[in-house]
Symmetry: C2
């Protein structure tokens, strides 16, 4: 189901987290569960993956992760602020030590001049550190391709976070 | 990323739900987010998909979905009772009208004589109805194949539930 690249990245994330006795949580909007789906594709992932939040609606982002209504209104769901709050919320609402969050516009609709299709923010957080966010502009390369690129970048950033 | 069969099923679920003005929530253990990942692969899914719960650990099943500690201890995470409680919990903790939940043993480890690799329970629920569960025995056909078969069966059962 997943490409060899994603499979290898997921394996690496699990191995690095396991070696450090870290648990992981995910918070996904535009990828809708694909990051947790990729991590759990690997046998034995249950000792590292605690849980995942698929917060597709704004209500879900607020209720499941505690993303503030103010950030959603002021900056929009696809923003650096919301990506950081999602990553923070995934930690606060789980027993995970590290988290990754994604929010973006997978298209084909929903884009604007300010926030075009392919714009994705990736948030990462770990216990005791301030969350950080990465802005990605994948362009209008197609919904599946944008989601795939997001999964790859999210796993890569999570790996960086875990390695500290 | 997903097969044509899964793509077509996800499209059908979204169309039927949209026609009835129903929102959907998912609760996934062994599939780890692939069901919500498949539904959100379809453009325009945001008017139907509210949220998803990836409850990989027992703690997550209890904390996110309200699955009772008694059921987890007495029947185990992979059981009819837990599948029903997960589906019910997905409704109770979202604004969805219909839900699907899966819990199973994707392998290659974790199987026993009573609960072999490939055993999966699928729970479905909708507002105002008692949750129901379906027992699937896919056999030891491989982790990816068990997860794929689970996604297909879950989407099929969700379609039955939506059509009432």
């Amino acid at each position: 189901m997943f490409s060899q690249e994603i499979h290898d990245l997921a394996t690496e994330v699990l191995e690095e987290a396991r070696a450090r006795h870290l648990m992981i949580a995910t918070a996904e909007s535009c990828t809708g569960g694909l990051i947790s789906g990729a991590l759990t594709e690997i046998a034995g992932s249950s000792d590292v993956v605690d849980r995942g939040f698929v917060t597709y609606s704004n209500e879900a982002k607020n209720q499941m992760l505690g993303v503030s209504a103010e950030s959603l209104t002021r900056f929009g769901a696809v923003s650096e602020a919301v990506a950081k709050e999602m990553a923070f919320g995934a930690l606060a609402n789980s027993r995970a030590d590290a988290s990754v969050a994604v929010t973006g516009i997978a298209g084909p609709g929903g884009g604007s001049t300010d926030k075009p299709v392919g714009l994705v923010y990736i948030g990462v957080a770990s216990q005791g550190c301030m969350p950080r966010a990465i802005k990605c502009q994948f362009g209008d390369i197609g919904r599946t391709q944008i989601r795939t690129a997001t999964v790859i970048t999210a796993l890569t950033e999570l790996l960086v976070e875990i390695r500290g």
